[in-house]
Amino acid sequence: MITPNSDLILSVNNLHASVDGVEILKGLNLEVRAGEIHAIMGLNGSGKSTFSKVLAGHPDYQVTDGEVRFKGEDILEMAPHDRATAGIFLAFQYPLEIPGVSNRDFLRVAYNAHRKARSQEELDVFDFDDLVEEKLGVVKMEATFLDRSVNEGFSGGEKKRNEILQMALLEPTLAILDETDSGLDIDALKTVAQGVNQLTGPDNAVILITHYQRLLNYIVPDYVHVMANGQIITTGDQTLAQELEARGYEGLLQQHQLEVTA
């Protein structure tokens, strides 16, 4: 939902970033306001996932130029966990497995880390159980799900639903979903999309990183950006995604190059 005067949540200005000395992001610009859903599309290697990891603070990526402001504050010097508790959430493309830690304990530790950062009292086991069981409905999961080790032996769909469950608990201001649709069958995709829709409101924002238009049938973006070669090369509304689906990236890239050279 676009509301012109709503708060600026994320402002990315001329962002350059490299991994192992290879520049991946080459001057990326983006503004995200409260209430908005942005989709970032692009081919493999265009820099989409790098962008999401840079926002979350992955230590393997070095920012070499530009700035990233989250709610007005420069976050590039912030540790990943400080960004998380400030309200940035990254749903992983490949969520990690943590054998030996129950999902319930993991979720409680994460939730309480957020409470603590806001100087709120931590929830005890019983209060937390009530909360998390209420949130399970968002992603249509059974309570038994909580007693398994984090992501261990989960199917692809279960892992992604678990990411959305974490999002539901942590209530981020900015959620970045990195290829959350990859590897999902249609039912799981719908469940995940419904969860995200349910969690999106006027005060927060979502960035969907995706390869395919399919997810955007269920989560309707306000803006669609196309990335290539470490930059956002064009921006439009949902029709841009449809156009992409019809013509493929190649057609769009050619057209873009023509515009650039014209």
């Binding site: 979350a56 603070g57 992955h58 230590p59 393997d60 540790a79 990943p80 966990h81 960004r83 998380a84 508790t85 959430f89 990254l90 992983f92 969520p95 990690l96 943590i98 054998p99 030996g100 830690v101 993991f106 530790v109 994460a110 880390a113 957020h114 950062a117 080790s149 974490q166 942590l170």
Partner: protein, 444 residues
């Protein structure tokens, strides 16, 4: 030539080691309580020891564990200390039978024997051996397990002053855990404690046994050299937790020998957390077919701690099942050693054995030496073994950080998770909780 001018090598640590061992044997033998002469046993151990030398890293079995610092200690058998306090961590949370030794001497004031099942016998091994009718349960088995020909086992046999005797009659289900606490308290001179315990679970009986070694070793150097022998008769079952949490200056050497008769089940968890130097011999001898053996080990080491587990499962009958998992967490300059042998002889057909050793290194200076060994003669068996050495993965830490955990919280959770896969095999909730809290401190 320059080489010919250099002085000859000092003569010889080997001599010094010999003298040290013979001297120690002499001191131990002269301190044996008069009422616990056990002349045959002790003479045999003494005669064998006379042919031995004190272990050196030149011996294959001691290649990675150097006991040289002990050679500087003028060890004396530790005296009994009257009525110290029980440490907080000894509490199992439920009223349980508890047998307490202090510096290797039985302490009846701290022990609690109420609640033993009908017919069961428990108490000071010295007392029990002095009562002919009761001694019959113990004497025929004392020091009769294989593996007696090992220096520290023999030193214990030669000189132990007391220990625990525990006998569970046939077809008894012991509901509550029975705990043996081996406490070491500082002594004026470097003390040596040598507790000796003998546990017999008769046919068809079931027992949960906890052994904890610990105490305040910070202010006095001390060697604990404990031996526990466990006899499982046909179809007997035991769940055994052995927790080593000695003080930080203590040397801990221990032997657990288990005799498994037909259809018996042994499930053991050994935790190695304390002591500056720890060496555990864990030996399982199958004496009948169709036994089940679970060995779960966990060492959590930091500073300059050294921990060495040498395990042996000797199978000589068909249809044995063995599952061994040994994990170590090694921080700072600590050093972990694992040598696990599973021997499957010709008669042990249809054995199903697996052994895995996983090591987690938390520092660049931490060191792990591991040697899983399967020795298989039988031809119709299923056996697997392996070892891994790894560090915490940056991606795992980042995943947790992205959920709001600080880097150190993330590391703690991952270390905890690694340890929990062993800790959860301890069947006593309250004990698990205490260990969980201790682990959190360790991984800080």
């Amino acid at each position: 030539m320059a080489a010919s001018l250099s002085p000859p090598a000092p003569p010889l640590t080997a001599d010094r080691r010999d003298r040290y061992l013979q001297n120690l044997a002499q001191i131990l033998r002269s301190a044996v309580p008069e009422d616990l002469a056990l002349v045959d046993l002790r003479s045999r151990a003494a005669a064998w020891l006379q042919e031995q030398t004190f272990p050196s890293p030149r011996q294959e079995d001691w290649r990675f564990t150097d006991l040289s610092p002990l050679l500087a200690l003028d060890l004396q058998p530790a005296p009994a200390v009257s009525a110290p306090d029980l440490p907080d961590w000894s509490d199992l949370g439920t009223p349980a039978v508890q047998l307490v030794l202090v510096n290797g001497h039985f302490c009846s004031t701290l022990s609690q024997l109420e609640g033993l099942p009908p017919g069961a016998i428990a108490g000071s091994l010295r007392d029990l051996l002095n009562q002919p009718d009761l001694a019959a349960h113990f004497l025929p088995r004392l020091a009769q397990a294989p593996g007696q020909q090992e220096v520290f086992t023999a030193l214990n046999t030669l000189g132990f002053a007391d220990g625990v005797g525990l006998w569970i009659p046939p077809h008894s289900q012991v509901e509550r855990p029975i705990q043996i606490l081996y406490l070491s308290y500082p002594t004026p001179t470097p003390g040596l404690a040598q507790p000796r315990s003998l546990v017999v679970v008769e046919a068809g009986s079931q027992l949960t046994l906890v052994e904890q070694y610990g105490g305040d070793g910070a202010s006095s150097l001390q060697l604990t050299n404990g031996v526990t022998e466990i006899w499982l008769q046909a179809s007997a079952q035991i769940t055994h937790s052995r927790l080593q949490r000695e003080g930080e200056s203590t040397f801990h050497i221990g032997k657990t020998a288990v005799m498994q008769a037909a259809d018996s089940q042994y499930s053991g968890t050994a935790l190695h957390w304390g002591a500056q130097l720890n060496r555990h011999h864990w030996e399982i001898y199958q004496t009948g077919p169709q036994t089940t053996t679970h060995l779960h080990g966990l060492a959590a080491l930091r500073g300059s701690q050294h921990s060495d587990t040498h395990s042996l499962v000797a199978l000589g009958h068909p249809h044995g099942r063995v599952e061994q998992r040994h994990r170590t967490i090694v921080d700072d300059r600590a050093h972990s050693v694992f040598n696990g042998r599973i021997v499957v002889s010709q008669a042990a057909q249809f054995t199903n054995a697996s052994q895995i050793n996983r090591n987690l290194l938390l520092s660049d200076q931490a060191r792990v030496d591991t040697k899983p060994q399967l020795e298989i003669v039988a031809d119709n068996v299923k056996c697997a073994h392996g070892a891994t050495v790894s560090q915490l993965q940056a991606d795992e830490i980042f995943y947790l950080q992205s959920r709001g955990l600080s880097a150190s919280q993330a590391q703690r959770l991952l270390v905890y998770a690694f340890a929990m896969e062993i800790l959860h095999t301890i069947p006593i909730t309250s004990l698990r909780e205490v260990l969980r809290a201790t682990l959190a401190e360790l991984s800080d």
